[in-house]
Amino acid sequence: MKALEIIEKVVDAAGVIDDGLTLIGGLVRRIRERKWDQVDEVLPVSLKTELAMAAAEEKARAKFGASS
């Protein structure tokens, strides 16, 4: 395995750990503060996947244009 691949995997693993800890940290805070927000206060108006998919489709249409 190349050094760069190792670094990439370390960063990737750290991301997983960070996400997990953020999630647990948020849950602990909610339990401690007994603050359970309504779902509409937690969820964004537009999901990031929705925005990313829309942007990707726009790029694809721009690349292939009317020929497709």
């Binding site: 995997k9 309504q38 937690v42 996947t49 998919m53 694809a60």
Partner: protein
């Protein structure tokens, strides 16, 4: 073939990740159970407040999952754009990601519907509508789980699976066809 002193690093990282995810999953499950069953000093929570705790946690998990999925979706669709020779081919290659996007949008809608039902429960004391809607939320979360598995987001499924089980615990039965 080049010999590398850390040739087994892949296996080590996989093992570390799997081990950590198990810990995360257990911790999330434990915290959810504490919150929802009231063992954690949350004993004064009413049943609708516990349902609210479960819904809020579910929304937290979906938001975290959405952020990671969006990054991977962008990378996957850009790679497909480089390799595809037509729009139809690109659409074919990215279809699983489109499915995941739709599943996430539908899950968001299901969570919002469940929230409205919890609000009715809080206001009237009648949990019938929430228990009915919870079946559809659980069914939708399972669709999201399947969509995530099809695009190889397996390392992010643990917390999602927990939310599926949590939603299922509130259901009285199956979601009627056509209501997902």
């Amino acid at each position: 073939m080049t010999r590398y002193p850390f040739a087994r690093m892949d296996a080590l990282f996989d093992w570390l990740r799997a081990g950590f995810l198990t810990v995360v999953r257990l911790a999330v499950v434990a915290l959810l159970l504490l919150a929802v069953t009231g063992v954690c000093g949350c004993g004064d929570l009413t049943p609708p407040e516990r349902a609210q705790a479960a819904l809020t946690t579910g929304a937290d998990v979906v938001v975290a999952f959405d952020a990671e999925a969006a990054e991977r979706l962008t990378a996957a669709t850009e790679e497909a754009l480089r390799e595809a020779s037509s729009l139809a081919e690109w659409q074919g290659r990215t279809q699983p990601w489109k499915r995941l996007t739709i599943a996430l949008s539908a899950t968001k809608a299901a969570l919002l519907t469940a929230q409205a039902a919890v609000n009715v429960w809080k206001a009237t004391g009648d949990d019938a509508s929430f228990r009915s809607v919870a079946g559809c939320l659980a069914a939708q979360l399972e669709l999201l789980y399947d969509a995530a598995r099809s695009v190889d987001l397996n390392d992010r499924l643990a917390s999602l699976d927990t939310v599926v089980r949590l939603a299922a615990a509130y259901t009285d039965g199956l979601c009627p066809e056509g209501e997902r």
